[in-house]
Each structure stands twice: as structure tokens, then as C-alpha cells.
Symmetry: C2
Subunit: 310 residues, 2 copies
């Protein structure tokens, strides 16, 4: 039985645990704050590894950012990581085999292996959070592309409503389907649609309406909140329809904090009504908040120990 | 050396030839009219096969429509084929191994193996013709999806300009980026943009302006035609940008009759300016008009004779 030390690297916290090749946690997850400078970040990684080095077969990292094809480096540093993060060669941190994977890719792998998409060789996991992430399994393999940067589903264009995305371009899926996208839709509707003035937030400055306000408003049956929420859902349907027509997948798995507000049956019916391919299943994620860690551990187990997913 | 009888099935013509495993034509291409009823179509197939049966190792079909995963049937009949086309089990036409592939997929395989994308394991071929077709090579394998219907890139949504697509939905890539799309853009611009009245087609009914008119107008530097052509190019850039962000491919190969009007360098620069992944190459197709036949033959050779691309 292989034992993998899995380390999930986030901008504020680093989480780690030892996981077996079936995705079972052998120790409870530990968490520490992410150091603010690259030197201490590296020392932190080395110390975590040292603690478990004798009992493990490999080390797996799940991280934000684009990971290189040999799964040893993060090529594009993300804004909330210490400067120089892309310079770390993870393979030099220990003599054990090391495997680094983008967290959205790793989460998709976890859904495929131990989550909602088990046995489905063509499956896509879309993470709806502050941003929009994606991981694509094609014929039982993770889609990485020529450089390892594949899967950036948040940056397909879905309309021409002229909204600027954080990536600097316009009309990306992410700037509509994310939690931030919902908030921005709320602001736009407040400014252009009379329905706002009859809703429960009529005395609020539209700029101050939050994602939380809208999800709460929906619960209270507020017409303005429902209008905003419906547009958000339509934008999600538009994006998913497109990728389903390209991939003809068994399933699309919805994860992330905003994914909880999705009625998957409703989205499934709408997407299948727009498909030119065969019907797809839309499901909630099942691998949980630690899907990234689990997926990275499982990929490491396959790649490093059995050389299956090279 | 394997010899494959390759048969390209179109709505008006059936073309066939014997091709070797390197894509070399061993006989000149023969062409006959496509019979209008299913019984005679089947007889025609059988007669073509009978002529070459003794000298060939396998039969490959390239056809419009969605092909099933076992590559023996066309599951969704296309409008211009005889009724009942989807009922033909191609594997029963002969005792030789038979391999059926969608023509856009087959063309992409030909570009990958003997065309513009040789050695590029992640490559997408987009066919711009009356419609828009696509074939995706991921990590050296053809993307088929769960049912064999994958690759329908013509039906990703790219904007919200509210144009109806032949598939019955709205705003699909196909209804903007195809030749028909160019014509429809021409009509819309004529109706809404003053520039039409100063152009060379000002005395024409906008409905009568053809795709050919616009490509000719561009050659004559007609401002209206240039405006229409620019919008068409932008729509193509929007669609390609999205799929590049998902696939992070080495290359996107542009084929089809309308592809000839594309300046690939211009599109490449525009797409790379919008990418969040690594730069992509955009190139014209090289495998020629018979790419579908060649690709089907090469796939048949790999699958049936060497069992490589199962």
C-alpha cells in the first residue's frame, strides 16, 4: 500500500496529510499559515516533508497556478503567493519522488477516482468560487495541453455584454459564472432594471450588494435577487453547453463554494436541451473540500509508483 | 505495407481510393454520384469494396454525422444523406476490417499525421466551410467523447448577438464563423451601418449579398466589405481563443473553403494576445481536399492493423 504526503498550497494556508493510494486519509489534516516570503515557504515545505519522510513513498503538491509538464514547477506565479514561487523546483525538496499538480486538475482527478464521476472516463469538473476553474478528464487521462496549462475554462468567451475579466480581456466565462460574477450581475441589474426598486435591497448602494445578499434574497423569494440569480444560472448554462458540445463528456461535476447554489437537475435539463451531442449528467462534487489534496495524492501514486498516468 | 480502401461519403459524391499506411495514394481517386436511397447506397458501397477486396487489408469510411464509439455506424443521420443512413452497419459490408470516422475528425488526424500539425501531439483542426467542423487531438489521441460525438466546436456559444443557428439554438460559433455566417454578418451590417450606403453593393438588396461578394469586395478594398470581413475575423478569433484556453494546444489548423481567406499570422497574434495559456501556432491545413479520406485510412491502419489507437 503506497503512502503519499499530500500538501495543498493556498495563499493563506498550507494543508497537509498522509493519504493512501485509494484516497484514504492516514492522518488528520494539519494546517499552518502560508509564509509570506519564498525562503520561509521553502523551509516550511522541507520541514513538513522531514516529519513524514521515513513513512511515505512520495510527496504530492496541489497548488494554484500553471504547473509544468514534468510536474515539478509552478510556471505562472499566482498573485496571492510569495514572489519567486515559480522558481521553486519541488523535485529538489526531498529524495522521494515529488509530483506537483494544479489544484483544479487535481480536484477533477479526485472526482473521477473517488468522487462523483467514478467510472466515467470523460468528465469535467468545474469549480465555481471567487473565480472559475476547470479540470478535464479525456478518455481516462487528465488534459494538460502542450505546456501543462490546459483546462482554463474560465477564459472561454460566452457573450458580448462587454464585462471586463480579471485576466484583462472581456466576456470570459469566469467574470459571469463566479461568485464575483454574480455580484457584478447584481450591480448591473440594479442600475438598469426597475425590478431593483421593488426589491429588498432598494435602499442599498448597488455597489455594496454582495454575493451573499443575492443568495439570501433568493431564499426570501425577492424578485430582484431571483432575476440576478437567473441571469447567473443562464451564463453558467451557456458556458457548460459549449464545453459539452466539444467534449461529449459523461458528466460535468460542479464544485466550489458557489456550486452549492446550483440545482444540478435544472442545469442538466437546460444543457441537454441545447446539446448537439448525447445527453450529459450534471452532478455536485463529492470528493469534498480536500479534493485537491486527494487528487494530487492519487495522481502521484499512479504516476510515480505505477507509471500509469505519465 | 498495409493497403486501405478509403471511401469518403458526401451528400452528392462518393470518392474512393486505395491508400497506404503512410497516406500515399496507390490508385487515383474515383468519384461517383451518391445514390438517393439507402438500398442503392449500400449496394454502391458493396460494389466499390468488391472491386478492391482482394488487394486491401481494411476499409475506411470518412463521413458526415456522429460516428459511434466502435466506429461501425453513423448514429445521427445528416440532412443531405438518404433516409436510414444511420441504420447501415458498415462492419457487415465486407469480411475485411472496417473503420468509420466522422470526416472532421478524420481530417484532423490527417493534419496531425501527414499535414500541417506533424509531431504536434495537441492540435485542433477547424474547418470553416458552409458550416464549422472540428477535430481535436489530445496527447496524440483523437477526442471522441463518451459516444463518439465529441468535437462539435461549431456549437460553442461565442456572443449574445442573438443570431439563430441551424441547430435551433442561438449564437453558436458556426453561425458566425462559417461562410454562411459571413453572409449573415453582411446582411446585418447592411441594415444597421451607414458604411453600406457608400460601398460598392449599395444598390443590392442586402439579402442578396453573397459570401463571394464580400471576399471580392475585400480584394477591391471596399470599406463595407472590409467591415463585414473584420467582424467575421473577430468572431473567429473569439471562438479560437476560448478553445485554446481549454486545450493549450501546440497548434490550431484552419481548413475548409473559407479558411483560405484567413491570414493565419494575424489570427495567431490576436489569439495569443488573449491567451492565458502558452502561445499557440495558427496554420493553414496542408493535407488537402482529401484529408478526410487520408485520415480515415490512417486511423483504420492504426486501429485495425496495429491496434494502436483503440
Amino acid at each position: 500500500m503506497a503512502k503519499i504526503l499530500a500538501i495543498d498550497v493556498g495563499g493563506t494556508k498550507i494543508a497537509y496529510a498522509v493519504i493512501d493510494e485509494n484516497g484514504k486519509f492516514l492522518i488528520e489534516i494539519q494546517r499552518i499559515a502560508t509564509p509570506k516570503d519564498i525562503k520561509n515557504l521553502k523551509i516550511t515545505f522541507e520541514n513538513i516533508i522531514k516529519t513524514f519522510e521515513k513513512e511515505i513513498d512520495a510527496v504530492a503538491f496541489a497548488t494554484a497556478g500553471a504547473v509544468n509538464l514534468s510536474n515539478t514547477k509552478v510556471e505562472s506565479s499566482t498573485a496571492n503567493m510569495p514572489e519567486g514561487y515559480h522558481l521553486i523546483d519541488f523535485s529538489t525538496l526531498t529524495n522521494k519522488p515529488v509530483y506537483v499538480e494544479n489544484d483544479a486538475n487535481a480536484a477533477a482527478w479526485a472526482e473521477y477516482k473517488v468522487g462523483a464521476a467514478q467510472g466515467e472516463n470523460n468528465t469535467i469538473t468545474i469549480t465555481l468560487g471567487t473565480g472559475v476553474g476547470g479540470g478535464f478528464i479525456v478518455d481516462g487521462k487528465l488534459l494538460r495541453g502542450k505546456s501543462g496549462r490546459g483546462g482554463e475554462v474560465g477564459h472561454i468567451k460566452i457573450n458580448s455584454r462587454n464585462r471586463k475579466c480579471t485576466c484583462g480581456r472581456k466576456n470570459c466565462f469566469e467574470c459571469y459564472a463566479s461568485g464575483t460574477g454574480l455580484k457584478r450581475t447584481a450591480e448591473e441589474i440594479a442600475e438598469t432594471n426597475e425590478i431593483f426598486k421593488s426589491g429588498i435591497y432598494k435602499n442599498k448602494n448597488p455597489k455594496d450588494i454582495t454575493t451573499y445578499d443575492i443568495t439570501e434574497g433568493v431564499k426570501q423569494n425577492d424578485k430582484y435577487s431571483l432575476e440576478v440569480f437567473n441571469i447567473w444560472k443562464q451564463d453558467i448554462i451557456t458556458g457548460i453547453s459549449g464545453i459539452v458540445n466539444i467534449f461529449d463528456p459523461d458528466s460535468v461535476i460542479i464544485s466550489g463554494g458557489m456550486g452549492e447554489y446550483i440545482n444540478t437537475e435544472e442545469i442538466q435539463n437546460a444543457v441537454n436541451a441545447q446539446n448537439v451531442v448525447s445527453p450529459v449528467k450534471i452532478k455536485h462534487a463529492k470528493a469534498g473540500n480536500n479534493a485537491g489534496m486527494i487528487g494530487a495524492a492519487l495522481l502521484a501514486a499512479e504516476k510515480l509508483l505505477y507509471n500509469k498516468n505519465k
